[in-house]
């Protein structure tokens, strides 16, 4: 864009440029996600070509291959994408709500609460399908405490983050305590769950996550425009006609539901809820629909990529996706802190 054009109708040009950027980013990410997902379906101990995979998804070809793709790989890939999407959306809402780019459900104790409930459930020998329910209940309890302690109208910024860090610390201590008391036979199951893994996720997981997202994601988009005003300050948002208290409560609840879906299905997958919104803001700009879509897609890509890396890097030994995201996320976070410190 030349400067002459910029001064002619600058606001229109700026807003059009911004909309175009959003569309390009979202389209490119959709294509990339589809490509990586197709590649993930072709990967595995039995070699499959991309063409065979595409056929097998729709039930064509060798029956063994159809089974492997439809029943083993497809639900796992879909679960990874859905979990990542939920984490990306959850982090976007929470960072906006707390006006803090370092806030995320894993930092403020929502994920920690889920973890504590899950290890307790494992200790009580709850059947496998009860585990996601326990995790979701734990996430909800932690969020309820967060809301309760923040007090009336006190859900503002840094205070909420500090309360969340406190809840996270208590949950972590609780997890350590429960783990030390678990019988050796159940310790393994607890460790596997706490690592955050997509191992052996089937259609039940994928369907549950899809149903949850089908409800929570539209709600997130519905809250987004309010969030874009709220992040400018509480007083300003009130002046612009946003019901701040209701909006804050709804944002916290939706962020927790989204994080709860992810953690119930895959366990705590670290860093994605923190990193995905950050990456999204860098490539799609400040809060608006395209930024949320970008965070959702980046989250999907991160979890899927982490799962692929975890399966392939040290094959035949596989790493949990949560271990991979934590290993990659830690340096990214340090770099982020370094950068914010310099500004």
């Amino acid at each position: 864009m030349t400067s002459a054009e910029a001064t002619a109708v600058p606001a229109r040009a700026a807003i059009r440029k911004r909309a175009l950027r959003g569309r390009i980013v979202v389209t490119a990410l959709l294509a990339l996600t589809a490509a990586v997902a197709a590649w993930a379906l072709a990967l595995g101990s039995s070699e499959t070509t991309l063409l065979e995979v595409v056929g097998a998804v729709w039930g064509f070809g060798d029956s063994g291959q159809v089974f492997i793709v439809q029943q083993l790989r497809l639900p796992r890939v879909l679960t990874a994408l859905l979990v990542g999407a939920a984490l990306g959306a959850s982090g976007t809402l929470m960072q906006g709500l707390m006006r803090n780019p370092l806030a995320s459900p894993d930092v403020v104790g929502v994920t920690g609460g889920a973890g504590l409930a899950a290890v307790l459930a494992i200790g009580a020998s709850v059947p496998p399908l009860g585990l996601p329910v326990a995790a979701a209940a734990g996430a909800a309890t932690a969020t309820g405490l967060l809301y309760l302690f923040s007090g009336r109208g006190g859900t503002a910024g840094s205070r909420l983050v500090l309360i969340g860090i406190g809840i996270h610390a208590v949950a972590s201590a609780g997890i350590a305590l429960v783990m030390s008391r678990l019988p050796v036979g159940r310790l393994g199951a607890a460790e596997v769950w706490l690592a955050g893994s997509l191992h052996a996720r089937n259609w039940t997981h994928a369907t549950a996550a899809a149903i949850g997202l089908a409800i929570a994601l539209p709600a997130a988009y519905w809250l987004l425009r309010r969030l874009s005003v709220l992040e400018l300050g509480d007083d300003l948002a009130i002046g612009a006609g946003v019901h701040v208290r209701h909006t804050r409560t709804a944002l916290l609840a939706m962020s927790a539901v989204l994080a709860g879906i992810a953690v119930a299905v895959a366990g705590p997958i670290a860093f994605v809820a923190l990193g995905a919104p950050h990456i999204a803001r860098r490539i799609a700009g400040p809060t608006r629909a395209a930024t949320l879509t970008t965070a959702v897609l980046v989250g999907s890509l991160l979890v899927l990529a982490a799962d692929i890396i975890g399966q392939r890097l040290f094959a035949p030994t596989s790493l949990a996706a949560g271990v991979v995201t934590a290993a990659l996320g830690a340096p990214y976070l340090l770099w982020l802190l370094h950068r914010t410190g310099k500004r």
Binding site: A14, W222, G241
Partner: protein, 274 residues
């Protein structure tokens, strides 16, 4: 003095408290329509509290803020936002947010959660940017602007809301002289050309006298005096409200009252011979 002006926005026996501390206790105040009102007073006198209560940021403990006779706190907040714009003293700037984007967010009350971006929205943004002289900076990031430019960007956002009444909390604080004058002139022009009712909290008495039609002086949560600047700002009032002895002369440019504090450590210079 002329007959009282009509008033859409009123404080009616308004009491506001922070916890146990009562800041306003039964304040009555009519804001004259299509005029500029400046609220002045020492720190902690409740002037910001009054403005924020009128902007429905603070809920009254008793009494009400009435807009066209109806309490603002009971009306749906989005419909109030069509009538009443508010610029708080401090706001948060998200990283990399452009001026155009910021101003566009001022359209929220007209768009709601899913309303499409219409020609009316775009025209309102263009107009707000033009009125504040921010059009050339529309694609710049707000966090990279100077203080004065940034304040104009925020004012542009509240203008895009297209409200007949605008409340501003210390719009000139932290700005240097040139930027202060720039902001006050902009408000004057908005009032002259569009008939926008402006209510602002100001620290500088001379700025208040020079740019406002109506001055409200507060002390300890009470409105001590209000009216035209020349009638309100007298040596007795300044002594009473600020506890500062002063002499007041008409300023040589506008004729508005200019407050010159006396120095208690020295005798006032009687002669101006030298």
């Amino acid at each position: 003095m002329s007959a009282p002006r009509p008033s859409r926005l009123r404080a009616d026996r308004l009491s506001v408290a922070y916890g146990a501390r009562t800041v306003l206790d039964g304040t009555d105040l009519d804001i004259p329509d299509r005029a500029i009102t400046a609220i002045v007073g020492p720190n902690g006198c409740g002037k910001s509290t009054l403005l924020r209560a009128m902007g429905r940021v603070l809920a009254p403990r008793s009494g009400a803020v009435l807009l066209d006779g109806e309490p603002v706190h009971r009306r749906p907040t989005r419909t109030v936002a069509h009538e009443l714009g508010l610029l708080p003293q401090t706001n948060a700037v998200p990283e990399q947010l452009t001026v155009a984007d910021l101003v566009a967010r001022g359209r929220y009350p007209h768009r709601g959660a899913f309303g499409r971006w219409t020609r009316t929205d775009q025209d309102a943004v263009d107009e707000a940017l033009a009125a504040t002289g921010m059009d050339a900076l529309a694609s710049r990031a707000v966090d990279e602007l100077s203080g004065g430019q940034r304040q104009r960007a925020w004012i542009a956002m509240t203008l895009a809301q297209q409200t007949p009444i605008l409340l501003l909390d210390e719009p000139t604080t932290y700005l240097d002289l040139a930027h202060r004058i720039e902001v006050l002139r902009l408000l004057r022009i908005l009032n002259d050309e569009r008939g926008v009712t402006v209510v602002m909290v100001l620290h500088d008495l001379h700025e208040a006298c020079r740019y406002a039609d109506h001055v409200v002086a507060m002390r300890d949560g009470e409105v001590v005096a209000h009216g035209e600047p020349g009638d309100v700002v007298t040596p007795e009032l300044v002594e009473d409200v600020f506890g500062v002895a002063c002499s007041i002369v008409p300023d040589p440019v506008s004729g508005a009252p200019l407050v010159i504090p006396l120095d208690p450590d020295r005798e006032p210079a009687e002669s101006s011979a030298e």
